[in-house]
Amino acid sequence: MRALPLLAPVHVLILGVIVLPAFYVVWLSLNASSFGRAPVFVGLQNYIQVLTDPAFRAALLNTVLLVVLAVHAEMAIGLGMALLFASGLPFRRFLLVTVLAPYAVSEVTAVVMWRFLFDPDAGPVTLALRALHLPTLDWSFTPSHALTLIGLLTIWLHLPFTFIIIYAARLAIPGELHEAARVDGASRWQIFRRVTLPLLAPAILIALLFRYIFAFRLFSEAWLLTGGGPARSTEVVAIYLYQEAFTFNAFGPAAATAWIMVAVSLLLAAGYVYLLRRQVAADAR
């Protein structure tokens, strides 16, 4: 108990800023309230309103599409890069540091970069695509193109994380296993499929769950690139929440959206913690 003063700052911060407010959101979500009006208990009315709102459904669909497509593409690239690095590269440390660079870039700066790269008139990527007679991204008018750009941006910002997790797991595989497989006459593909991939599976799952959770809360990239427009077509769940709360002052529906976000995140988090525990138990054996 003498340790309590050392534990207090962390727990006061977490309880005061995250846990208690998150529970308060539950109460808010069961009431109708706005600025200067006393809250009225309405039960699950806010949840029904949000879940039947076409704008929420569109935002949810956009978010799920982004999470599924961007996170899996990111994993495929990260896995490929980890295997490439592990196969032996010259200047490996330099290349590793290069790959980490986007980790330092803020969402705002990344939006500045990618907006200009894909500028319809002068963007170097647009010009290159046009020169190769490939389709360009008309992201300020076509919602699907805007979402593609948001997805690319998100992959660019978070690839360092995914790559590092997979690469660290790949380095932890003892070389003798590959050696033995080669001696037994396994082909490259068989070694990857039967030795490398199964051993990487726990790290891949952990990284995927982690990225699902973080991609699900995506806000800044989309907000700064399109503001959710044109006509709310590129909204994601976090932008929907922001609009309900701070543009329409509809705290009840906003709180319901917030709690839906918490519930989805906690569900994914439960899977994540379960995998971690199993991993720790396996390491201890």
């Binding site: 800023v17 969402e107 170097p124």
Partner: protein, 277 residues
Amino acid sequence: MRAERIAIPLGKALAVAAILLWSLFPIAFIALSSLKPGQEIFAVPPKYVFTPTLSHYVELWRGWRGFFAGLLNSVIVTAGATLLAVAASTCAGYVYARHGGRLLNASVAGLIVVRLIPPIVVTLPLFPIVNALRLNDTHAVLIILYAAFFVSLGTVLMRTFIQQIPRELDEAAAIDGASRLTTLWRIIVPLALPGVLAVSVFVIVYSWNEFLFAFIFTATRAKTAPLVMSEMIGSIDGVDWGILFAAATVQLAPVLLFVLFMNRYLVAGLTAGSTKG
């Protein structure tokens, strides 16, 4: 066999070139473009050879003094959040590393889960509270928010790093009459320095770059650099991209150099932070 001997190195070289292009081109392009004179930013095809000029930086200084005030706010908020988060995480991580028990172990899982709650969720209940406490548009509110969202990861990381320090050192210090705090400060912190640095890298990068909380909780006095930049994006018409590139370069350069310099601690922190629990 012979074809393979050529094809594999060639494929690797192409893959490495693609990785370099992907990671560095966006950064290099805006940094270079910020030095292009006037309209050359819009040259078709893009110019890669030009006479560098600082004119966009001068325009930024003249026209957007608020950006530099934002940078100063970013420095204050980042320093405050880092100090608070590192100090709190080290203290708690020490207790978690040295004491077991069902309650403590269960609360580690709690720490991991808390970290996964989306920050935007707490803006809703905190907004009126922050207003009532007159904390809106202050450095303090951002420092507390940024620290709160990183002490969970920080504690788990510090626990992992401190667990590797032999307990006997604590016991020897205790026999010599050192208090718990003295042991922590004189023995544990120096030996767990890589952990302290890993936590610092996370908090510094996050606080320096964060947008959402700054967007919701600050308005004029405590505006951080990313928020000022977002206003520049909104108000800039086609011609002023150069100023925006200059601002982006200034905002990015220190944190990029820091991350590259500290890459070892970042890698250690990323791997320990997501695969240990």
